[in-house]
């Protein structure tokens, strides 16, 4: 299966949607869940807009991912998907303003490389 511009575009979309979903989940966790005590409060916090929107992002990412898998091999597509780990870290650094040591950057590069190998059949 020959992957073209459309496939890589779809993969970029999957990465963008999952990364946005992760950031939204973190925002929802900090703004709602962190101060929720008791089952009722936790349930209410799960219906904040950040969490709902993250669900929409992640669900549409799954659908697009299935479309990618229909068009190319998982072992070819997955190394690109695992770059999402780097995108999430960039978002955590520049949008959430988390401090990230160089050691952690290197660690994530190892994880991305390892996952790329794990996806090879």
């Amino acid at each position: 299966m020959e992957a073209g511009l459309i496939e890589y575009g779809l993969i970029a979309l999957v990465v963008a949607l999952t990364s946005s979903g992760q950031v939204l989940q973190k925002l929802g966790a900090d703004r709602g869940l962190k101060n929720a005590h008791g089952t009722a409060a936790i349930l209410r916090a799960l219906f904040r807009w950040e969490i709902i929107l993250s669900g929409v992002c992640l669900a549409s990412a799954v659908v697009i991912w299935l479309a990618v898998l229909y068009r190319m091999d998982v072992s070819k597509a997955f190394p690109f998907i695992s770059s999402g780990f780097i995108v999430v870290l960039l978002a955590a650094r520049f949008y959430l303003r988390e401090a990230i040591s160089w050691r952690r950057w290197i660690g994530v590069l190892f994880i991305v490389a390892g996952i790329s190998l794990l996806s090879q059949s």
């Binding site: 955590a92 190892f110 390892g114 090879q120 059949s121």
Partner: protein, 144 residues
């Protein structure tokens, strides 16, 4: 980051989330494998999936694990920086690989290349968790 920096609760929740998400993947994969051989249209596939107890049980259990994993993940995020918690999901890929190799329902082959991947992921996880990374406190995240 050591256990002393992050609330025990958050560590447990993150661990649960990682294990449950691997279980979800494995159960759904096993369910789809059990469905294999049922040909035909999407409707026929759906019907077979619902009627076959093994298939619906495995996929149902997989979906349940997935939902629980998501809940544990959201709760864990209240105690972790995203830049520490998210890389930990790499561990679940390792667990999925090991499960796919050792669970005879799936029985994927053990390969040198993929095993090297495990080593890389684990080195990465250790580096990400290294001492100088504290936990998330309310002053350094969620504000932008």
């Amino acid at each position: 980051m050591r256990a002393t920096d992050t609330p025990r609760r958050a560590i447990m929740l993150l661990a649960c989330s990682v294990v449950l998400s691997a279980c979800a993947q494995l159960l759904m994969k096993a369910g789809m494998l059990a469905l294999h051989g049922t040909g035909g249209s999407l409707m026929q596939l759906l019907q077979a999936a619902i009627q076959d107890i093994a298939v619906s049980g495995l996929i149902g259990a997989g979906l349940l694990c997935y939902a629980l994993s998501m809940l544990a993940w959201l709760l864990a995020l209240t105690g972790y920086r995203l830049s520490i918690a998210y890389p930990m999901l790499g561990i679940s890929y390792v667990l999925v690989y090991l499960g796919a190799v050792f669970w005879d329902r799936i029985g994927e082959p053990f390969t040198l290349l993929r095993s090297a991947g495990i080593v890389l992921v684990l080195i990465g996880v250790v580096l990400v968790n290294h001492r100088d990374n504290g936990m998330n406190d309310s002053t350094d995240s969620g504000e932008s």
